[in-house]
């Protein structure tokens, strides 16, 4: 019997959770006038499902031994995770205006020592999955049935260390490890598929060939995300699990979705409110 988690106390829909996460991220971006808002808007549906459907956790006790561990390998996605953790009640809403400021608990790149609920210090890409391998081994040693979730980006598919970890997870039969790849096809210099990734429809096969249970889905289709997480968790199989989530940068704010360079998207001062206003017109129940 899983410990009751926040989602069990609420009738709020996952779509509304995702919408709230997007809106909170935009408010945080507005504070600094910058931020990795494109990634936050794109991955909001995945985070909503993670924190309000899949993860077992206690918002008031982020270090509870029984929790599922959620690793943010992509440190620059911190704005997205802060938003999700604010929505989940792990972080207080009134702190969001400190995002990226001196002495804030919410630095631009996610670090474990700064933020409750931020499990690892990400940012040096290609690290999260390897740490997840060790933590999954550790949970097994303790007979702790919790899952390790590692959220990484498609850009990290280019790091050799990712593939060391991919092989290692199979070698150690880590059925308690769920890796989520946010595939938005953007990295700092342009499209991920112009670099080392081979693109939508091809990535899951690579993981499967290494021995993972691999799913590739539309990461902005809430039902598909829920179904994929359910399958990954319920699988009775010694394989580690990966969900490749094809997402759209800036999802939910059409005028931003259309911008070309979206890794670190430029948003003008007056556009933050405009983006929030667009979201507000379409608030789900």
């Amino acid at each position: 019997m899983a410990h009751p988690t926040s989602q069990h106390h609420s009738n709020t829909s996952l779509a509304r959770r995702a919408w709230n996460i997007r809106r909170t991220a935009l408010r945080m971006g507005a504070v600094q006038g910058q931020g990795y808002i494109g990634q936050a808007l794109g991955v909001a549906d995945v985070l909503a499902v993670s924190y309000f459907h899949a993860l077992t956790h206690r918002p008031d006790d982020p270090e509870w031994e029984g929790r599922d561990r959620f690793f943010l390998s992509i440190g620059h996605y911190a704005i997205a995770l802060y938003s999700a953790m604010i929505e989940a009640g792990i972080l207080p809403d009134d702190e969001l205006e400190t995002y990226g400021m001196d002495d804030s608990r919410m630095p631009m790149s996610g670090m474990a020592a700064y933020t409750p609920g931020m499990e690892i210090t990400g940012g040096s890409l290609g690290h999260g999955l390897g740490i997840a391998v060790g933590s999954a081994l550790g949970l097994k040693r303790k007979n702790n049935p919790a899952f390790i979730y590692n959220l990484m980006s498609d850009g990290e598919l280019g790091e050799g260390s990712t593939w060391e970890a991919v092989m290692s997870a199979v070698s150690h039969k880590l059925d308690n490890l769920i890796c989520i790849v946010d595939f938005n096809d953007q990295q700092a210099d342009g499209k991920t598929t112009n670099a080392l990734a081979t693109g939508r429809g091809t990535e899951a096969a690579k993981w499967a060939a290494f021995g993972w249970h691999a799913q590739e889905i539309d990461g902005n289709d809430m039902d598909a995300v829920v179904a994929a997480f359910d399958i990954a968790r319920a699988l009775q199989d010694p394989r580690p699990r990966v969900i490749i989530c094809n997402t759209k940068m800036c999802k939910g704010v059409p005028f931003l979705e259309e911008r070309d360079i979206t890794h670190f998207i430029r948003v003008e001062a007056d556009e933050w409110d405009k983006a929030i206003a667009i979201l507000d017109k379409d608030m789900p129940q």
């Binding site: 020592a113 210090t121 940012g123 390897g130 060790g134 999954a136 081994l137 260390s161 970890a165 150690h172």
Partner: protein, 356 residues
């Protein structure tokens, strides 16, 4: 006593690698007997010395009897780091991570996050050069108690730069939170293994494996993390040495004694944090030439650390360093290389006499 300060001579003869494929001498051409490169991990002048087998592996097994938190990981080098002793005794607490140093280090971090005390082993070149970012970010940034124990430190193999970690101390000294240990012998390794297991933070330890000479036990020595220990005192020279070079400075001191030079040996197995108080106190005693000695490049190791601390502390004394040159080292038999690069007791004694 006064010291002449001769023009700084290069430390050890120049490398034989003069140019690509340059003809080398042959036994026929120079008539001398040639030694042969031995197994990858050559023994350290153990002839005539008492040795202890696999001190690290046995100490770890001993610790594991009472500490369930201790686990071992290796990147395909358990036999060459003495971790196989632990693996045999505790197979369910041993993780073979394959030839994948980056995930080994990251996984050690993950295990430490879950409350375990991982000992991760590989060669020093691979930990320092290949896995650095992972040690820095996954372990040191979060101050996790992972112990990285590495064979082939400095010049302890004749296989050439691919396996000679001549700059590992320089690489690691800049890493915040990391404790760095360079033990001398079997006694040191046995005690240091226990001490680092008790230290609540990351440690990099240089390892001698296999049959390891036992030298320090006859001096009533005890390893203490962060402490330099006086092996024996002397009035003319103060050796400050680390790692197996303390075996060599002890022997060099004996040779110097025969020439009427009285040398003290201060063994400094913890490179970071450096025992600044002891080093300052000993160096400040007047009338001694201070000579650091290390199995590491002259750049960024013990010598530079000690020299800088003394200058910052206003302790201005005659100061020399014995270390490896800033070069890609040659391949060859280890005794040949130690002679060539000035790490033998004879070479140290001769060098010190030239400085007096």
């Amino acid at each position: 006593m006064t010291f002449s300060v001769p023009h700084e001579a290069p430390i050890g003869p120049l490398s034989r690698r003069k140019s690509k494929f340059a003809p080398r001498s042959t036994p026929a051409s120079d008539g001398g007997e040639k030694l042969t490169t031995s197994a990858m991990i050559a023994s350290l002048d153990s002839e005539g010395r008492n040795t202890i087998s696999a001190p690290f592996g046995h100490a770890l097994c001993d610790l594991a009897k009472t500490r369930d938190d201790i686990v071992g990981l290796t990147a395909d080098l358990s036999k060459y780091t003495d971790l196989h002793v632990f693996a045999k005794e505790y197979p369910d607490r041993f993780y073979q991570m394959g030839m994948a140093e980056q995930v080994m280090i990251s996984a050690a971090a993950g295990l430490a996050r879950e409350g375990f005390t991982p000992f991760a082993t590989t060669y020093a070149v691979f930990a320092s050069r290949r896995a650095y970012d992972f040690i820095f970010m996954a372990i040191a940034e979060e101050n996790l108690p992972v112990k990285i124990v590495c064979a082939l430190p400095g010049l302890t193999t004749g296989y050439g730069p691919s396996h000679q970690a001549t700059e590992d101390l320089a690489i690691f000294r800049g890493m915040p939170n990391l404790t760095i240990v360079d033990p001398c012998d079997a006694t040191d390794i046995d005690q240091a293994t226990r001490a680092i297991a008790d230290h609540n933070g990351p440690v990099y330890m240089r390892l001698l494996r296999g049959k390891v000479p036992d030298v320090l036990s006859e001096y009533g020595y005890k390893f203490e993390l962060g402490k330099a220990k006086m092996i024996h005192d002397g009035n003319d020279v103060l050796f400050i040495s680390t790692g197996f070079m303390t075996m060599r400075t002890i022997d060099a001191a004996k040779r110097l004694k025969a020439d009427g030079i009285d040398a003290a040996v201060l063994h400094c197995p913890t490179i970071k944090p450096l025992d600044v108080e002891t080093i300052k106190r000993e160096a400040a005693k007047t009338g001694r030439l201070v000579v650091t000695a290390e199995n590491h490049t002259i750049i960024g190791g013990l010598g530079e650390a000690v020299g800088a601390e003394l200058m910052r502390s206003g302790v201005f004394v005659p100061f020399k360093s014995i270390a490896l040159p800033d070069e890609m080292l040659d391949a060859g038999a280890l005794p040949t290389l130690h002679h060539q690069y000035g790490l033998t007791a004879d070479a140290i004694a001769a060098q010190v006499k030239s400085w007096m």
